[in-house]
Amino acid sequence: MAVDYGTLKKGGFMRQKQKDNFSLRLAVVGGTLTAENLKKIAEVAEKYGDGHVHLTSRQGVEIPFIKLQDIEEVKDELEKGGCKPGVCGPRVRTVTACQGSEICPSGNIDTYGIAKQLNERYFGRELPHKFKFGVTGCQNNCLKAEENDVGVKGALDIKYIEDKCIGCGVCEKACRTDAITIKDGKVNVDYDKCNYCGRCAKSCPTDAWDAEPAYILSFGGLFGNEINKGESPLPLVTSEEQLFRITDAAIQFFADYAKPSERFKFTLDRVGREEFYEKIEEAYHG
C-alpha cells in the first residue's frame, strides 16, 4: 500500500531520512505543556521512539523514530496524556508565545491567553502556504514577533496622571525614546515619540500612569530562505475584539489573494500593500 505522506505530514508526522521512520510533531500552544503532557511524551519516546525528543525552533516538540506501523497506536497513546499531533504544510502553524504578563515582570499582555485564542480561531486552517503567528509580551521581543506572518507585540497605552506624580524623575530615565521630559517637577510626555513600551508606568513608584494593555501588530514577516521583518502600519490596537477583527481580516486577505506556495510577504509585494492596509484599517475601525 502506498504511503500517503501528505496526510501524514498534515497530521504532524514528518518523514525522516531513515525509511519508514517519522518524527512526530506535537501541537504546543504558546510553548506551554503540562507535567502530564511531558510524562506521556517521555513514555512514548521511550516505548515507540529512540528515547529522545527534539525541541523545535518554534516551541514545538517532536518525537523522532516513530515507526510507520505504530502511528495509530502512538496517536491513541498520546491522547491519553492530553497530547495532540501538530501540523506541517500549507496551513496555520503553531502559535508561539513568550511567558507574558502572567509570569514575566516585563510582560504587558497575557500572551498565552492571546495565543490560545488565536490557536482556537485558526490552528490548522488550510491556506495557500504556511502561516505563522507569534505573540510577544513587550518590546524586549523575546519571541521575535516580526519574523512571523502576523506578529503580536504587547504594549501599554499610557496616560500621565499628574495628581499622583511626586516628580521623582525615574520615568524620564526609564524612557528609551526621549518622550518624557521633567521640568520643575512636572512630567511632559511627547506622545508622538512614545513607542508604548510601558517602561515609564512599570518603573513609576506611585503608579502615576493610567496604563492599559495594548497590541502592536506586524504583517508579512518571514525568516527562512528569504528574510523580511514584518511591518506595522496600524496605530496601537487597544482591545482584544479589535485585535481579532484585524487578524481575521489579515488571514482572509491571505486566503483570498495568495497563490499556492506564496508566503504572505510575497502576496503583499505582488498585490500591493495599499489594498491590504485598506482592509486592515477597515477592521481596525470596525
Partner: protein, 81 residues
C-alpha cells in the same frame, strides 16, 4: 515630596547588571522598615532598570537626581513585606 533622612548610602557604580540590583538589595536588607537608603548608580542600564526592580520588590522610590557626572543618586525607602 515627602521629607526623608538618609540612613545609609551605597555605591553601585563599581558593578554591572545584575549585580547592581543585588548590591542595592543587600544594602536595603541591612535596614529596618521605613529607613531610607541613598544609592549612587551609573547612567544607562542601571538608572533605567534598578528603580523599577526596587519597586517590584515593594520598596518606595522617593527621588532620582542627576549628579551631573554620569552618575545618579536614587533615594529609596525600605518597605518590609
Amino acid at each position: 515630596m515627602a521629607d526623608y533622612t538618609i540612613y545609609e548610602t551605597v555605591d553601585i557604580t563599581d558593578v554591572v547588571c545584575p549585580v547592581t540590583f543585588v548590591k542595592a538589595k543587600v544594602a536595603l536588607e541591612e535596614l529596618d522598615d521605613g529607613e531610607v537608603l541613598s544609592i549612587r548608580l551609573n547612567d544607562g542600564e542601571p538608572v533605567q532598570n534598578v528603580p523599577r526592580s526596587l519597586k517590584e520588590e515593594g520598596h518606595q522610590v522617593l527621588k532620582l537626581e542627576s549628579n551631573d557626572d554620569g552618575t545618579y543618586t536614587l533615594i529609596v525607602r525600605k518597605v518590609e513585606d
